[in-house]
């Protein structure tokens, strides 16, 4: 465990080398939030749509924008890089679990994003646009738990893509497709409660909602305490399912492994 935490620390400190990026990210977050705020203010105005007020949507947008920076989908581009450079050989000769190594390495990046972009962005957005407090204390703790689910599910989906890349030798198209699915079905831009009923029921069956809609809706209290159990049970179900899938894919993928460049 200690050794995996070291990879987290290592990834964190590696990111420090790209400090100038922080300002750009802060600006990017601000602009993204600003656009969404303006859209929702224009759409909802002073009243409410489907029982949702503009302030709620602003908080929803802030949470989703900042959460996006913490997700671990990026794992697929890391694996892709290792596959293309052949560096995967050096990773596989170490006595480590490859997925755990990737997970903890990714967590280091997320931690960095949390400290240097998400937290300051939250402060800025709070000052400029205002952010609602969590619905109840229970909802706040459930929100924290939902963040953990979001990280795990995003990691598993990213890892799944990187394993599929063993067959295609390129993850770009797959990541692109995954990006599309996430943008739509995570509800990060358009919350699932605004979806037409048939699409909403599809979105609520998929794992993507845990990477956007679920944490934000919990925070706002739009998921009731009784529904929470159901949502979490399904999230854990998805994690178990994805775990089984990636384990199985790994045993197949490793046979296809080609180490580039001798």
């Amino acid at each position: 465990m200690r050794m995996y935490l070291m990879f987290t620390m290592k990834a964190f400190s590696n990111q420090l080398a790209y400090r100038s990026e922080v300002w750009l990210r802060l600006l990017g977050n601000f602009v993204t939030i600003l656009i969404q705020v303006e859209i929702w203010r224009a759409v909802i105005g002073n009243g409410s749509v489907a029982g949702i007020k503009a302030e709620q949507m602003i908080t929803y947008s802030i949470i989703n924008t900042l959460l996006f920076a913490l997700l671990l989908n990026g794992v697929s581009s890391k694996v892709d890089g290792s596959l293309k450079s052949g560096g995967i050989a050096s990773e596989l000769i170490k006595p480590l679990s490859y997925p755990l190594y990737l997970l903890f390495d990714g967590l280091g990046n997320s931690l960095y994003q949390l400290a240097f972009t998400a937290a300051p962005s939250l402060l800025i957005a709070g000052l400029f646009f205002g952010i609602l407090p969590p619905a109840t204390l229970t909802h706040f703790f459930a929100f924290l738990l939902a963040l953990i689910l979001a990280l795990i599910i995003s990691f598993l989906l990213g890892y799944l893509i990187s394993l599929l890349a063993f067959w295609f030798m390129n993850h770009f198209a797959l990541s692109w497709m995954m990006g599309g699915l996430i943008t739509i079905f995570s509800g990060s831009f358009l919350p699932i409660w605004f979806f037409p009923p048939s699409w909403a029921s599809v979105a609520k069956m998929l794992p993507f909602q845990y990477m956007g809609y679920v944490p934000a809706a919990i925070y706002l209290g739009n998921i009731t305490e009784t529904e929470l159990w159901q949502v979490f049970a399904m999230g854990v179900g998805w994690i178990v399912g994805l775990l089984v899938l990636v384990q199985w894919l790994w045993t197949r993928a490793v046979r296809r492994l080609v180490v580039q460049g001798g």
């Binding site: 050096s90 000769i93 170490k94 492994l257």
Partner: protein, 335 residues
């Protein structure tokens, strides 16, 4: 006991067929045709504990693939492979604690960190007890002369320095087997010597089994009593270096300087290799008459100024072996 046993191993890579040109690349999108490339073909050998084995062959002979299968990175397509009693890719994590791997063309160090930090990370990853770690570190640092640059970041090291660090790191967890894939590639003579000496010490004194691929025959001569030569994925020679030299190196080269143009020299058992003014290089079959006899017979008949006898070096022995293999291939293709 065999520490490595390779039994009829084959590894094929499947590659979808590509068609040249722009239209071809569109066509490649729809094809399901693929080419099976065999990197390793029905390979068998075994290595005992404490051996030092040179694994060599021309480029593309499947050496790296074999090393990667033995280290558990790649999975053989067919056949049985056991390293330290287990199947490498299945027991990858357990085996990796007991083997050390050095890839000459691929660094395992942390690029931005000082050398010492890379060593410390290694200590955690391999869960090396502090006393063992300190002891091994001291041993490697001293014999490989790493002390001067142990605080420098890896990216600032010269290739020779980096290679020494790579080898040191591969040994910190006291592996039973050390795999080296072209460890001396691109190094200068002094760095090569240092590494060879060190590896010999590690093999003789610490009883670490060594499997080494290289293109530098001196590596083999100085470190490995045994060599396995592969070509096109199959073993073509497995035995001692001395034996191979006897088998293929039973020719001697003689350089003769003549006083004046001798004309055609007709003598059984000699072949002209090179002609350079009055200097001729001949190869002599070592069979019946001794080389010395032949030279003196030439000297009696022709105006010889000077002659020197050279034994074929291991490089030319290997060159001859590869040439024979290439010729055999050509014959097979024609016939």
């Amino acid at each position: 006991m065999d520490i490595i046993s390779v039994n009829d191993i084959t590894k094929t890579y499947r590659q979808y067929r590509r068609f040249p040109g722009l239209i071809g690349s569109v066509r490649s999108l729809f094809t399901r045709e693929y080419i099976e490339e065999t990197a390793v073909r029905n390979l068998s050998f075994s290595i005992k504990e404490g051996e030092a084995v040179g694994y060599l062959g021309p480029n593309g002979a499947g050496k790296s693939t074999m090393i990667k299968m033995m280290t558990g990175i790649l999975v053989p397509t067919v056949g049985e492979l056991r390293v330290l009693g287990s199947v490498p890719h299945q027991a990858r994590k357990d085996n990796s604690r007991q083997i050390g791997v050095v890839f000459g063309q691929r660094s395992q160090l942390w690029w931005d960190l000082p050398v010492k930090d890379s060593f410390d990370l290694h200590k955690y990853i391999y869960k090396i007890p502090p006393i063992t770690f300190e002891k091994n570190l001291e041993f490697c640092v001293e014999l490989l002369a790493i002390k001067d640059f142990i605080q420098k970041p890896v990216r600032q090291l010269s290739l020779g320095q980096r290679m020494r660090v790579e080898i040191a790191m591969a040994l910190l967890h006291e592996p039973k087997i050390l795999f080296l894939d072209e460890p001396t590639i691109g190094l200068d003579v002094i760095a090569k010597d240092q590494i060879r000496q060190f590896l010999r010490t590690v093999n003789r004194d610490k009883r670490v089994t060594i499997v080494l691929t290289t293109h530098d025959m001196k590596d083999i001569e100085e470190i490995c009593p045994r060599m396995i030569v592969v070509n096109k994925g199959s073993v073509v020679y497995d035995g001692s270096v001395v034996e191979l030299r006897n088998r293929l190196g039973n020719e001697r080269q003689v350089v003769i300087d003549f006083r004046e143009e001798p004309g055609l020299i007709d003598m059984p058992g000699i072949t002209l290799l090179q002609e350079e003014g009055l200097r001729r290089t001949y190869s002599f079959a070592k069979s019946d008459a001794s080389v010395f006899d032949l030279v003196s017979r030439i000297a009696a008949k022709y105006p010889v100024e000077d002659a020197s006898i050279e034994s074929a070096d291991i490089d030319s022995v290997i060159r001859r072996l590869y040439q024979q293999l290439a010729e055999a291939d050509l014959k097979r293709q024609i016939g």
